[in-house]
Symmetry: C2
Subunit: 372 residues, 2 copies
């Protein structure tokens, strides 16, 4: 074959649903060098990552680590390890990611009860309550905290309180929310939460932070069947992350170095400060983009601040505008998903991208393109 | 929590079963910046990676890419996508990795026929032939090309020829061999092969190169059941890697940049030159380590050159010597696996580590420690 030239990434300002802009310190850290995953140094890094993730998840859960795959691999880790064939699983579906959980639960052999809700609305906690009353045998209720297909922020506290003293587990997808808006795993009674690295943590994609409560651990210990994946089976994975320090798979050490530095940046800033920054910058964008006649897809009462799905007026070709934004200004925003594909945008001010001046930069570019 | 200091990896010479030493160009490439996985640039990089992987796998298979997980995730991708519940799968087991395939096939719902062989020996092709005669319904035969628990190199050509005109598929684990010794996917009639990045390709762990023949693709198209994992289901994964260029999961773009540069280095050197280098350096080490009374675990007729499992004489504490090697000389070698744990070493001269001077460096360090 012809020699392939070096891959030189173009300058991009990442304002889509992820990846978000990565801090130079993170890129530097993941290039510091490669060590073996059984090196004492690697275990030290792992322990520190687990500790920092506990702070970010607001939990004391011992079983807290990063899956060697993206947020979707972490989602499937939660589903496959908590669910056995024949179990009932209740899933709230008001966008793509709830649908993905339901899909995975089906592959795990579960009887899936879907609570469907119109895209753009949260799942009413009362609906979860009736579903659990109708299915007292339910092993798991799963909800998406930040549904990035619409920008909806799902309320979680009532459902957590409802399930706390039952045998039903509560799993929450925090892929779009972790590090950007409050996530309180212990206080809200969440038994399994998983995120990604490339949203509000501003680390390149490739790892999936995850945490399980002691109640979830007990359910796993009581399994009658083997988990349907070897790679994602926590019985094996935790041999490396836990005190045994044994080989399971070749853990991606360089990616872990990047996550380690990214988490250090999060904690240097402080979680509450970071949440406030995301709220402020996101609300500013939402205000100003509505001044330009964009319609936000999420109900006003349940809106993520930092990740916004919006529809432009019919007179504007949303896809063409998005492509021109990338080509002429190097700014990436996301396409709409599902019924909104080609008609909406998904705009994220996440992690290093949650800055006032970037709101201006995006809106100035949009104005220029719309006038041009 | 207390502030966590930056993670500064110690200087290590990686001469274990992986990871191998990473070229500075690869570390630099993966830190060049992050772009969105739906950016036209990302698809260009993906296409070039697929092309270079075809060269390395010696195949024209259209379905060739890198799994967003380690070599074990690629192994499970092969198993889960080729096997349906109730299928018969014949697996050669002469070490840990054949055992892992059998484990995964069981989780996929297969009836697993294990061809067990003493560790250190290859699976005799005649045994595969009788197994396939006894199980003409077999959907898949799986063998490990480089069994890194023992250093055995499995002959593949006869089995490939045997299965070529049957309905049975042939899957091969090339995790320890890809890029280091000849792997001829098309010429040997292999229907699925998967490797890793951190062995002879000298790229940090985190991605799993994989390729499937048209015969394997036809078998996937004829499936009656859904693949048991969403994350590893090729029907979804190939939407991103193929011509559709659609979102599936957030592909780890920075890791892909590293793999891209690593593959460029492999092709700059030339595959045949690289194989010759691994053969020469590995044989040199095997010769000299036997002069020091180490016993190689693999039969002389079926030995990988570049990855060697060896037992020290009983008078030597293999574990202590290994720890001292890391502490005093910064050199990593691997522990034995299974029955050899604590008693043997696994030593790899792989990728950037397959150099004459590193053989000397290791042996000098060992001599010093043994004399000291």
């Amino acid at each position: 074959m012809q020699p392939v030239p070096a891959a030189m990434p173009p300058e991009r300002l990442l304002l889509g649903p992820g990846p978000s802009p990565v801090h130079p310190r993170v890129l530097e850290a993941q290039g510091r060098g490669t060590v073996g995953h059984l090196d004492p140094f690697a275990f030290e890094v792992a322990e520190q990552i687990a500790g920092m993730l506990r702070t970010v998840f607001r939990t004391r859960n011992p079983l807290t680590h990063a899956v060697s795959g993206t947020g979707s691999a972490a989602m499937e880790t939660a589903v496959l390890n908590l669910v056995e064939p024949g179990d009932t699983v209740v899933v709230g579906v008001n966008g793509v990611f709830g649908g993905r959980i339901a899909d995975m639960a089906g592959r795990a052999g579960a009887d899936v009860v879907v609570l469907e809700e119109r895209w753009g609305r949260a799942i009413p906690p009362e609906r979860v309550e009736s579903a659990v009353r109708a299915h007292p045998e339910a092993k798991l209720v799963a909800l998406v905290h930040g549904e990035s297909s619409t920008g909806v922020q799902q309320p979680l506290e009532e459902v957590g309180a409802l399930l706390r003293d039952t045998d039903t587990l509560f799993a929450v997808d925090v892929v779009a929310s972790l590090g950007g808006v409050p996530v309180e795993v212990d206080a809200w009674g969440i038994d399994a939460a998983y995120g990604c690295t490339q949203a509000c943590l501003s680390v390149p994609p490739g790892l999936g932070p995850i945490t399980f409560s002691p109640k979830a651990e007990a359910a796993m210990a009581a399994r009658r069947t083997t988990v349907r994946s070897w790679y994602l089976d926590l019985a094996g994975v935790r041999r490396w992350w836990g005190s045994e320090r044994a080989h399971h798979h070749a853990v991606p050490v360089n990616a872990l170095l990047g996550l380690h530095e990214g988490l250090r940046l999060v904690l240097e800033e402080g979680l509450e400060t970071r949440w406030a920054r995301h709220a402020e910058v996101g609300r500013l964008f939402q205000e100003h983009v509505q001044d330009r006649d964009a319609v936000l897809l999420a109900d006003a009462a349940h809106r993520l601040p930092h990740l916004t799905a919006l529809a432009w007026p019919e007179t504007i070709d949303a896809t063409k505008l998005r492509h021109r934004l990338l080509e002429a200004h190097g700014i990436e925003v996301g396409d709409g998903l599902g019924e909104h594909a080609g008609r909406a945008w998904r705009v994220g001010f996440m992690g290093e991208g949650a800055r006032h001046d970037l709101v201006d930069r995006l809106l100035d570019a949009v104005d220029e393109l719309l006038e041009g």
